[in-house]
Assembly symmetry: C2
Homo-oligomer: 460 residues x 2
């Protein structure tokens, strides 16, 4: 770190905000297992929007690039300082600026964990519905910057739907706010939505206004195992066609069940080809009604069903579901997953394509995910004793992206492009659209100092 | 119209697409009563995306400005050719490109009326929730371009929430698509949301992919009259605080009831200071439950309640609500309304401010609107025999905008800036944010040929 940089960062955020010592923690995110890591030029942890602005002004003054960092749970390398950037961590910005349960809203700083936001809402009988996998570690600012999803997105939408306003600092150090505590606003271009999902490449989000909704009193899951992926997909389509609106509509394929099924908290037929999990929520009577109807639709053709009602049994099912990703990783020793998304009616093709693509590259592949949203966690299982497995998985990923676009979908439904998928947007957007993407980046960050090389529209 | 323009437009869209004769219909929108009208240089009605692209290329080649036009129901002058532009009407682009009721989605061209989209969904047991006032005349493309709202936005969100993808033509004539039939997509910057609500100033929307949802089986309204605006606002806040989620949560103030109350289809106390209308929806049992709870909360402090259950009585109530705007206009001979929005808890102040601002300018003022969203139709009543009433209403509008921003809100919750509110964004955004707004316009429309002078961030 140059003396000028140290001096200016300390001046901007205070001596204690500029970390000394081992900075490795800030050199990677959840893609570390795939060898994606860098070394920050410096790590600075400002504790206020004014300090974030001062840090960005200092870096702009020295032409030093900056990587904004939330909880470090990203799965696309979006927060990794691969070019020796300054890492700007939001973890000290954790104030709850306002909480108005009677008006269903809160304003929180970016560094608050998403789990904290969940609890804040729950304590007032409210729900913040977005529930990405790593909610206890991920920060709300990072979730907004990636427009994170999760199982409840089927009924409740992704993170962006719940953001009525945000405060952000531009690379120049200027602070802007778009929206606020209002539920509707069509005065300006929707720059709030433009920043949501921009993965820290346009501005550093420092605070968000969130809309909340009353917590459903009851949440009842229904799981059903089917003999084949096709039979399971038939059932998934039957639920949607029946006009039921489950809060969650998930699936796990045969390979996933092979890796994770042993700890399923009920009887799981050994020959299950697909497991469907739906959740009914609402008032106790409404949830019970939807649960009954889900059971009726799913029972038709199922090998078995499991529809727990006691709190402990319900929790056991979700705990198992939460552990699936870890179980799949443990099955062979590692995994590499992609979050492709396809139109709902192409789900069965995407499930089959994942397995076929794995086989083509000599890898066991499986998938699970958000069936109702057509969003797969298409996963290549890696063996520890397979030195070039990672390279073959990377090649398989390219085929997966191509398959997603071929099926009318997108290369990313949840994780974003980050570093891992930089340039993949060119598969699905036309040249004119890619030009606009790059133009937006230049407009917000003319010097290219904010999270460089991330979320690139075209291969560099 | 110059000979070159005629020739190029005919070449682009066919001879029949370029209108001859009286073009006055295309010279105004719903703001005509306030004297806002222009004369188009030409009117062209392309019937395909390729023709729209050809028209825009032709106009770009001649440096001729273009105003895109939907149903002409706008309330901000956004589709009015005030500088003698070419009007590009979408009314011949009415194809339903796909309809998949079993997957809750449709792809329709921009010129289809929103009412047609409602019926298309309803025929399949589905709901397209956005319900702006002029749905039978407004076109879905225009509704997306203004991100239209309506009563059901309280529970179901505004138009943009239901748009998963759109096809649009840039001023250069390039066609782009952002999103599609997928329910999630975080690969690129959210340029879909950026075009939603951009009021035809960035691109011409030619088709949209819409998400639909199962039609609630039952919809039951509850109306309650209160002695004062404060008592009514207490009740509105009590509903939200109680954790009920009505589909609709509307209010009408004393002045509105004076103008429109005579035809209310039930007994309305003569001294009513505020009327609240909520709607319970869902399965028959769920709607009945929510209706009961709404009645319980609203009865506390109400002068009277009206909660019809028969289809004809329910329809009579909504028919009355739909006619309120017309009744208010008829009361004195005319009206001028603004769609300000404030944080939910500032609604009562905005209601009071509207009346005070009217009085300050010598005008009877009233308001009604989407209470749950804090979105007022703040309205100045105009007398036919008051020659400078319009000028005083315009001055009052400036005060209303200032009041909305002062209360933490926005100058527009539904109608957009258009021509009427051009420059008003400067009240609520900082200089850096306004610069970005203008930068986005330059990025999409470097020559400034698309809907010039509309949705300006700063006063020109």
């Amino acid at each position: 770190m140059s003396a000028a940089l140290t001096r200016d960062l300390r001046r901007a955020a205070g001596d204690a905000a500029v970390l000394d010592g081992d900075l490795r923690h800030y050199g990677h995110d959840a893609t570390e297992a795939h060898g994606i890591a860098g070394v920050p030029a410096a790590v600075v942890l400002p504790s206020s929007t004014a300090e974030v602005a001062a840090v960005l002004r200092a870096c702009d003054g020295l032409d030093v690039p900056v990587v904004p960092r939330g909880g470090g749970t990203g799965l696309a390398g979006g927060a990794v300082p691969l070019g020796g950037e300054v890492v700007l961590g939001l973890e000290r910005m954790v104030a709850v600026r306002s909480m108005a349960p009677e008006h269903w809203r809160t304003e929180v700083e970016a560094g608050l964990t998403t789990g904290h936001v969940h609890r804040l809402a729950r304590e007032s009988g409210l729900l913040f519905p977005p529930d990405p996998g790593a909610a206890e570690q991920s920060q709300i600012g990072g979730n907004v910057a990636t427009n994170a999803g999760g199982p409840h997105a089927f009924k409740y939408g992704v993170t962006g739907r719940w953001v009525t306003g945000l405060e952000a600092v531009l690379p120049s150090g200027e602070t802007v706010t778009f929206g606020g505590p209002v539920r509707k606003d069509v005065a300006g271009y929707d720059l709030r939505s433009l920043l949501i999902g921009s993965e820290g490449t346009l501005a550093v989000i420092t605070a968000v206004w969130l809309s909340l909704t009353p917590m459903p009193e009851a949440r009842l899951p229904v799981a059903a195992a089917f003999a084949s992926a096709d039979a399971g997909c038939d059932a998934i389509e039957a639920i949607v066609a029946s006009g039921l609106v489950p809060a969650i509509l998930e699936y796990l394929d045969a390979g996933t069940l092979t890796a994770a099924g042993a700890s399923f908290p009920a009887v799981l037929p050994p020959d299950a080809g697909l497991l469907v999990i739906a959740e009914a929520d609402g008032s106790p009577a409404e949830a019970a009604r939807v649960r009954e109807e889900l059971l009726e639709v799913l029972s038709d053709g199922a090998l078995s069903t499991h529809a727990p009602q006691s709190r402990s049994d319900v929790e056991a099912l979700w705990r198992w579901r939460d552990g699936v990703s870890t179980a799949v990783a443990a099955h062979r020793g590692g995994k590499m997953g992609e979050d492709i998304v396809v139109p709902f009616d192409r789900l069965r093709e995407a499930i089959a394509a994942t397995v076929e693509i794995g086989a083509r590259h000599g890898l066991d592949a499986c998938s699970w995910g958000h069936a109702g949203d057509g969003n797969l966690h298409a996963t290549m299982m890696l063996r520890r004793d397979d030195p070039d497995g990672l390279a073959r998985a990377a090649a398989a990923a390219e085929d997966l992206f191509a398959a997603a676009v071929e099926l009318g979908g997108s290369v990313s439904g949840e994780h974003g492009l980050g570093w891992v998928k930089r340039g993949q947007l060119a598969r699905q957007w036309t040249e004119a659209a890619l030009d606009l993407h790059e133009g937006v980046k230049r407009l917000f960050d003319p010097k290219g100092l904010l999270n460089p090389q991330k979320k690139l529209a075209r291969p560099s």
